[in-house]
Structure formats: structure tokens, C-alpha cells
Symmetry: D4
Subunit: 146 residues, 8 copies
């Protein structure tokens, strides 16, 4: 059986690459999916439909176009990994976690220890909390091949 | 018909009271529900089951006990209002918004303009964005009685 | 048992009043619900959240606020009546019919014979097609009290 | 991952061909599905089961046979594109949009600006509004490959 | 707690009355619901919408109107009792049983021993098989008040 | 796209073979599935788990084992064809039709005209009524390839 | 708001009474529901439908009759409490816990520490683990009234 | 069609191997899936995320990691086989059975006759009870290929 794993959240570090590479090295039968991770492209996702002058509606339009991708990929995944960085508020990551929880999709959070308290509700509904991409790979390896 | 409105998110200002008072003055047929809004009580929700030494597990235990309340009330509401303050990361509010979105529950966000960009995914899945409790009351009045 | 009947669609004639009056005369245990039927109020539903300059976004904002009401009432109804007039395109009425169909909510269409061909998909998924409010009342009477 | 896109609505112009050709030129991994787009064949879909004398029932019978195809394809698609032309009432297109909305399927509307107001409820529940097939292709390219 | 029990199937004997009377004598907190049990009225349910010449379509129209009632009541019941008499084919009773099974609604079959083999699939998905209305009342009494 | 069609009901004539052969001649991309159609094998399905003395329980046991197959195949099909012969009561066929209706699976009934009245509820929830296997093949050809 | 709490599991000690009494003393707005807790009555639940000679089928019949009650009450509860005693295997309690988990119903386990390891999967899907009825009452008080 | 069969429960005897071998000898088109069956590995599943000092939380963490695998595989299977040995309490097996029941997944229990009474609720919701792996293979062969 092949697994599909959605990688949600922070887009400013290379955590996705580390997980993907780690899984490849172990030959795990996993297909990884992600939101668009190019920040500028993501912000401009709706511009092709006509550029908005008002920044709220530009964001709205782009967020909805991005939503076509993210909702579909979340609904099709077997497991999600939701990454929170220290610097940003990443409400979209928490939103994805809530979305997974309501659908009954298992998800793993990936974040440092110093934001544990602020993430307690998100972690409480998760199946695991990892502090490093290597730990995520270990969990995937175990879950998929053990 | 009576409506049930769940008030999710920030617990450090009196936005809930303003909405409740505003709805009462208009005699709107609304029952408001909320998470536990006493910060210390919420953090200690699991302590009655045995105090944990490890802070991650104390948080985990309390967040799950709180989850009995919050999931049930979200599932029973007709509409949710999700409030984001400027100061905190309030990932639980974004989590609730994602949970509502997956269930098809309409929700209204309540936040200042300066965090619009960071909240674009959460707002894009919302039915309305309000900047003040008075606006929320106006929307409820319209939706319920117009 | 009391029934809830949602009256969707055309807002320029008094068909809702005729059905409500007809049901009252028969003392049917029915609660009727409706979208906001004041055209101008409906178009302005989002203005309280800040008036938009762009007409597409004004419509968008108002339609979403109206959606809080209409989705909730459709989900709570037992039966819907969907009315199509001759003059307007009433895509929202057809949208509501499709929404009911996907939810498995039974609905009755109400329209003249001359638009039967254009409405064939909407009628095919309906439980009944009525040509007058009096016929709708007859069907409700039979369904509820027979 | 391969995507399935359902092309709903107007059948009198070549908008489907334009989208399909555009996607082929970009080698997008998309399978397109459609209702039967031959108007006469569609109207006659039920005739094989015995031709009806009454036109309402002929329409009813054909619309149900067509429904076997359209419901199945909508349920299996990842995204729908719903096209409204200027000339016809296309209630079936709005019906499909409502059906998608209730199922949580993302859809893109495709129509000219002059019918924006009449389509406000349908657009408000859509993930995007496009004015040309080329824009639809752009959105698909972004959503699928970005 | 009050229970709602739907009484489906055969309409030519007084089994419904026996169950209702039996439950009343025990003061069971039960609301009983039923399809329309007047055979002629049921066959004519659609006539108010215009009498059909073709008997297939007359049946079709009436069956759909009756469906507004029966689907709604089945979806709202806690338990169904499905009665099969010896003389008729009562495919509608078996249809209701299948409908209940797919919804996860528990149902009790009520029929004589001589048709056990023909009903084996329907009985296999039932929670109980009773041979008399008195037994149904006994089961309800136990289930509700024990 | 390949379609899966479940052939439910009567097992004493060769209607399944006719449909399968007809579809093969047209090269329709259809996979057909069926319940076990060997009457004796079906009645004995549970015997491997220990033969029951009591005929009710033997039937019960076998019907449940058969149910593993039939429920799974119905849930996986795109369309069902439900066949009623003249001679038998085939309550299992009507049960399957009700099961499909509750799941929102489209189904086609296949039966002679003389049992139209008794099947009116089953036909009213169907997408089409065919009188011959050839008509079923025609409908499948149209629905799948038109 | 009033809450409904289902008390599942062990029937040989008075833990249900303790919880009910505790909730009454605090005037909690809770309705408690339970399976039939009279062991002999529960084993004999199916006898009214004809006593079986074979003990497997007697158990089967009674368990199904009991299932009418337990499934309905579990589906209607807001929260379940699942009690495991030390002496018995109480597979039905674990079955109820799995049933709740799949439905997304929050549940609290109630058991001694010495069986923690054997119950780890059941506890991992629970929202809380309590060791005494008094703790359950404390959690309910907090969740419902805080 | 290929079937997926999940093998839940007891991990101390070779019943899984017997079923898999039996199915292979018959060339059944079945993919078998299982929880992690290495007892120590399963208990340590969460250790990679940081070893817990408290045994409750170690169990909790491991059970959740195992849950990523088991929930996903149960949701993807067509049929489950749930094995109860004589010696252990295997609450996780009963939990899986309840989970299957709520999802409408058919399952077969596999256990000796001496624990029939204690398993009556679990057996009552099952589609079959087998006493040996060979019987399970027989049922699968029949269900899949007959």
C-alpha cells in the first residue's frame, strides 16, 4: 500500500525537503503533497483572474484559489504533518489542523518545545508531536513499514 | 426559531460581553456558548484527574478536557464567531475555524485590519469578517430577524 | 410532530404569503422559514461590515452574509419549496435546489408550465412540481396530516 | 497526482474545447468529464426506455437518465467548472453548483461580467470566478502544478 | 427520553393499532409515525398536482409525494418496525428496511414464520424478528424502560 | 473512466449474461459485479462456519455472510441495476434498492410492466425503469460514452 | 444547555449511582442514559421473541435487542463514560469506546491504574481517564458549567 | 476486483500467517493489512519522539502513533477479521470491532467457543463468527470468488 502525506504550514525553512529526502532514503512508499510554497506566487494566486486594488480582496481571492489545492489535497491524504515555526503566526497551519481533526484525518505536529503551551489544543488533537523532520520520518517509517 | 452562536477565541478582552449585551438589547433569540474563558481554570482543567509534573502532558490533559466542551458546543452551534486579538497567537481560534469549515458550519471572524494578511486563509473560508462586536451583533440581527 | 418548510426563490410576488395563509387556515403544524425577501436589504446585507466600492465584492459580501441564514435554514428544514418566476433567472433558487438534492432534503418546485423544459433537471430531482401555492398547501396537508 | 475536473453548464459554445486544449498544451495531469453536450441526444436520453407522449414526462425521464451520468461524475471530480452563458437560463448549471457546494466540492464559475449580480449567490460559494477559458486553464495550472 | 418509532409496511390489517394500544397501556414514552395507510388516498397522493392519464406516471407522482413523508419520518425515527403480510409483495416495506440499514437505523421485522426464508436478507440486517404485535410491544418496553 | 455496475436481484434467468454480453459487444468500460447467483451456494454460505439445525439461524448465518459481499459491492458501485422477476417476492432486491437510495447511489430497475403498481415506491426512487436487458445496455452506453 | 451522558460498561458495582448522585448534588443539567444494567434481564432480552435452545443464538438474539437501546443512546449522547472493572473482560465496553471514537463522540474512561497498559488504545482515543466516579463528576461539572 | 482485509487483534499466535497462506494457496485477490504485530516495537512506538518517564504517557504516546496506522488501515479495508485469544483481554480488538461497526465496515470475529458469552455484543454486530483461520479463508474465498 502507498501512503499520501500532506505537508502543511511554515514555508520559510527546508523542513519539507528534509522529510522528503529522509523518506526517499528509506524507500518509503509515500507520495508527499503540499500547498504552494512560493510565498509570492501564493499571494498572487488570484491575480490571473484580475488584480484587485483592495488588499483584503486580493488576499481573499488568492486564498480561495489556494484553497482549491489545499482542501483537495487534505481530503485525499492519509496523514498530514503540520509545521509551526517560531516566528510567524501561521494561522493557516492551525486552520489545516482543525480541518483535519474534523475530518478524522490523523496529523502530526512539528514544532519546537518553546511554543508547546500556545499549541496545546492543536497538539491535543494530534496523533504525535515531533520536534524535528527526522522524527517525522521515523514515525512515518514505523507507521508504514513496521 | 432560536439560534445558537458559539464564541470562539481570544479571552482577554470583553468582546463576548459586548456581543451578548448587544443581542439582549435587541431581544435576539440567540443562545450564546463559549469555551471556558477563565485562563487559569482552563490551564488546570485536567488537574482534577491528577496533576502532571511534565508541562507538556499537563497541557495535553487539560486541552483534552476542554475539548469535551469545545467540540460538543461547536458541533451544536448554528454559527460561530471566531475572535483574533492582536497580541497572542491564538492557534486554538484558527483551529476552531478550520474545524467549522470542515463541518460546513458558517463562521464570522472578528479582528482588526492590521492582521488581515496573516488571516487570509481563515477569512477566505469565513462567511464574514467583522472589526467590532457591534458589527457582529448587526450581522446576527440581520441574519436572524430580517 | 411539527414540520419545518423552507420557502426558497422568487421574491417579487406573494406566493409565500399564500402558502403560509393556506397552511394556517388548515392549522397545519408547520413552521415556515425563508431567505430575507426584501430585495434592497438583501443586496445591502454586507454593508454593515463596510461598504465596498467594487460591485462584485459588494455582492460577494452580501451574498455570504445571506448565506449564513439560507444554509442554516435549509439544513434545518424538513422540506423545501423552490419557486421559479417567469421573469428572472433566479439562479439562487436552482442553487438551493441542487443544495437540497445533495443533502437528500425533499423539495417541491413551484413554477408555470411554460418553463418546464428549462427546469427539467431541477424538476427531475424534486419530489413534486406544483403550479400554484394552493397545490403546495394541498401537498403539505396530505404529507403532514393524512 | 492526477486531477479530475468536471465541466458543467452551457453547451452552445466551445468553452470546453478551449479548456481541454489549453490543459493539453501545458501537459496538465487532468482528466476532464462533462455531461452529454449534444442537446438533442440529451433531450432524448430517456426515449430508449419508451417514448413519452407528455412532454413533461419525456423531460423527466431524460433528465433522470442524464442524472445517472452527471451525479456520478460530479461526485468523482476534484474540481468543477460551472459555465453560464448570457442567453440561456441554465438552471441546471446553478443546480450543479449548489450540489457541489453541499458536497464541499470546490468549483470555479465561468461567465461574463454583465451577469455578476444575478449570479452573486452562486459566485459567493465558488472558489473563483473566471471570465475566460484561458483564465480557467491558468487557475488549473497553478492549482495543480505550482 | 422519548422515542420515535416508525411503523412501515403492510396496511391491510390492524397491526399498527395493536402496537400503539399496547404501548399506551404501558405508558411507554413513544411517538409512533407511519406512512399514509389509506390505500386509495396513497395511490391518489399526486392527483392534486394534476391527474395523469398514464398509470405508470400516476404511480410515480404519488409515490414521490408519499416519499416526502416516508423519507422524512424514517430519518427522524429512532427505531422502525417493518411489517410483511403473507399476501402481498410489499416491496416498499423491504425498500424501507434497506433504507434503514444504510442509515444505520435499527429496525424490527414483523412477519409470520412461513416467509422466513424469503426474508432472510431483510431479517439478517434487522435487530429483531417478531411474529406478533405483542412481541414488538414487549421489545419496545424492554428497550425503552428496562 | 471505468464504471462499476452492480447487478442486483433475480437469479433464475440469464438477464445478467445478456447485459454483460451487450456491454462487451459495445466495448463499454464497465466492470460488472453481482451477488452470488448460485441459489444453493447462497443458501449454504454460512455452513462452513458450522451447519445450523434451526432453519431460521441457518438462513441468518448465510444471509450475513452473503451480506459481506453484497454491501461491499453496492458501496463500491457507480450504478446498480435491480431486477425483479414475476414469480418471486425478491425482497432482497427491494432491500438493495432502498439501500442504494439511502446512499445516494443511482439505480435502474428492470421488470415487466405488470408489476409496475407494486413497485411504485421502488421505481419512484430509481433513475430509470427498463423492461429488457437490451434497454439497460442502451442506458449504460448512453450514460458512459455519449 | 442540557447535556446527555451515556454510562457504558461494567454493571456489578454502583459507579453509575455515584456519578448520578454527584451530578444531582451539583444540580448539573445532565440526563444520564445507560444500557440495561440487570445482568439476567440483559441476557434474556431476546427470550420474548422465542427462547433459543442454542446458547450462541440466545446470546446473539439478546445482544441485538440490547443493541437497539445501546446504539440509539450512544448516538444521542453528548459524552460517554466507559467503565472497566478489574475482574471482567468487558469487551462490550471497549466495543462502545471504539464506536464512540468512530462517531467522533468524546468519551471518558473510568478504571483503576493497574489495567492502564491493557487499555492503552482505548485510553489514547479517550478525552480523559478517571480513576473514580468523583473525578468523572468533577470533569462533567467543569465541562458543563465552568 | 481486489479486496483489502484488515487483520485485527491478538498478536501471540500465527493466525495471521495461516489466513494469508490459505488465501495465497487459493490465489485470492486479497491484500492483507495489520497493526504492528511486534509487541515490543508497538509498546515503543512513541519513543522516537522522546522517551517518557511516566508509563501512562509512554503508553499514550505509543498508542497514538500506532493509531495513525490502525485507523488508516481500518478505514481503507473492505472487511476486517477481529481475533480474540483466550488469555488476554484484548480490549483493542473489541475497540476495533466497535470502530468498524460504527463505520459500517463488515467484520468477522475469530475466537474459540468458550468465550462466546463474553463476546456476545461484539459477535452480534459481526457478519460472521469463525473458530479457525481455515474457516476465515473459506468465508473470504466464498465472498470474493463465488
Amino acid at each position: 500500500m502507498s501512503w499520501t502525506v500532506y505537508l502543511s504550514g511554515e514555508i520559510h525553512t527546508d523542513w519539507r525537503d528534509q522529510i522528503i529526502k529522509g523518506a526517499e532514503e528509506l524507500n518509503l512508499p509515500v507520495t508527499f503533497t503540499s500547498p504552494v510554497t512560493d510565498h509570492d506566487a501564493s499571494d498572487a494566486a488570484g491575480d490571473v483572474l484580475g488584480r484587485e486594488g483592495d488588499s483584503f480582496w486580493r488576499d481573499h481571492k488568492s486564498a480561495k484559489v489556494n484553497g482549491i489545492r489545499t482542501r483537495t489535497l487534505i481530503q485525499q491524504c492519509d496523514v498530514a504533518v503540520v509545521r509551526f515555526g517560531d516566528k510567524y503566526r501561521q494561522w493557516n497551519a492551525a486552520f489545516d489542523a482543525g480541518y483535519c481533526a474534523a475530518l478524522g484525518k490523523p496529523y502530526i505536529t512539528l514544532h519546537d518545545e518553546n511554543i508547546v503551551h500556545a499549541l496545546k489544543e492543536v497538539d491535543a488533537a494530534a496523533m504525535a508531536w515531533a520536534e524535528s523532520p527526522a522524527q517525522v520520518v521515523d514515525v512515518l517509517r514505523y507507521v508504514i513499514t513496521a
